[in-house]
Amino acid sequence: MLLRLGSNLARFVLSLCVATIAVFAMMRVLPGDPAVIAAGENASPQIVASLAHQFGTDRPLVVQYWDWFSGLWRGDFGISYVTRTDISPLVADKVQVSLILVTLAMALALAIAIPAGTIAAVRHNKPSGTLISALSQLGIAIPGFLLGIVLVSFFALRLGWLPANGWVAPVEGFSSFLSRLVLPVMALAGVQSAILVRYVRSAVLGIMHEDYLRTARAKGLSPLRALAKHGLRNAAIPVLTVTSVQFSALIIGAVVIERVFVIPGLGSMLLAAVGNRDLLTVQSVVMVLVAITLIVNLLVDMLYTILDPRIRAA
């Protein structure tokens, strides 16, 4: 088991390193010298050269990469070429906002999808099961930001039940923090739960005819009790896989949701940086988003090992 966890960890570190190379190559090598971009089109060569020296972009690319890479492990992203301020504290601030949003949305999506998907599987040839499947098909077709707009239009602007947008930190007022979270979390969770329902359904369908469930039923357990006691643990593995794959979709979905609800998270930071052509900030935020995805994948890989004794033994 330790060996397995070790190899999970090794693969994670390797993936993370390759991802840093990919991000660096895309953001730094393709677009050319950031000093030229920062100086503007009509700048004299002297100004460009002094900016390049200031940014450190006049050094070889390998040195620049190593500088950035080693900074990342210390949590140091460098100084923005555009705003000339330190990027790290800003990232640290925004990442909390995004994580709250994404974690709550995933929790809500699972809380909806696991029971709904199980019911859809158990009643797969009854109208209620078909209805759930049809609703999930429809839900997948509605992008999160569109659901967000619909929710804002109706619950905030029409009915006035909840604030339309904005963000209040939990320490500044817990109830206003929560009331501003309801709609964005619902918007993010909506599509995810629709996707997850399909996988929960097919996972539960897949185990419904297993021998151990028949044995449990023969012992006198009701179908749902038998599933809950013996089935869900087995159905959990494929669902976990999808959850980890979907996490990256959720994180990027949050970028758009933050725009709809004017939430100051990593997404807003990323979009503002894109607007300013602040490439180092873009590079840093993208790296953080990718790292979060990889960390979640690592955690899920480790969870498999814990959940399934068969994998543990292997």
């Binding site: 990919a22 429809l138 077709a141 707009i149 897949g206 758009v256 894109v274």
Partner: protein, 289 residues
Amino acid sequence: MKKMFLSRAKNSAGSPASGVNSTLLMGSILVAVVLLSALLSLVFTPYDPVQANPSVRLSTPSATHWLGTDQLGRDLLSRILVGARITLLVGVLSVSIAALIGTPLGIWAGMKRGAVEEVTMRASDILLAFPALLLAIMFAAIYGASTVSAMVAIGLASVPGFARVARAGTLQVMNAEFVLAARAAAQPPVRIALRHVLPNITGMLLVQCSVTFALAVLAEAALSFLGLGTPPPVPSWGRMLQESQQYWGTFPLLTIVPGVSIAVAVLGFNLLGDGLRDKFDPKLGRGKA
């Protein structure tokens, strides 16, 4: 009696479950609607989609403007029709990029095995951590917002999906007797790939095309909504949503029209994919949908 028997026989030959055909049919109809809208917009739109006409701004559907008009008095129907073109253009080109790069990689990995397979699959795992929209936002930061950079980004991000499907299919086909025979006959690998492997995984690849298309439509819509997709004045569904922002509470039509269009396109391609999956692999399809 005889007629009934015939129709049943036909049904069971085509597909096992009765719901399967309806999924494929529904998907095909919705996709056809989007496709026809785009084609129609090439030759005819009721009004100029970018021509502002302040005297009729924010009008509800009527005989003159079937879907109403927007905040500048532009005809919504005309804008939706032209928007379908952008949606399909981005979808077709990004799916093509993904299929043309991902499929050969996947077949190669599945035929060669060993280090080639390991490297290809690890690389595609890492690329999976870059969703289409994230890659598109990076491209917009580097090259500026444009339809081309959106298509390339969405296409590249969809490569791993095709590589995985092609590899999985290839692994199955490689054990078939006709492939073993071809290998025993010392046919060159490229010939085996083209003559024996590719035709046998076409079904799976078509499913992947359809599903990827739906994801591309979603990514393009989100990108345009963020203002990083196709630049004005060309109307795109995502930007129509963005422009409706001021009127979310007061004039919902501006949101509903492009919103429903996006949902119809995504639903259509998803249903088409599900229907194709059931058609090509009935065993796999039963658990899903």
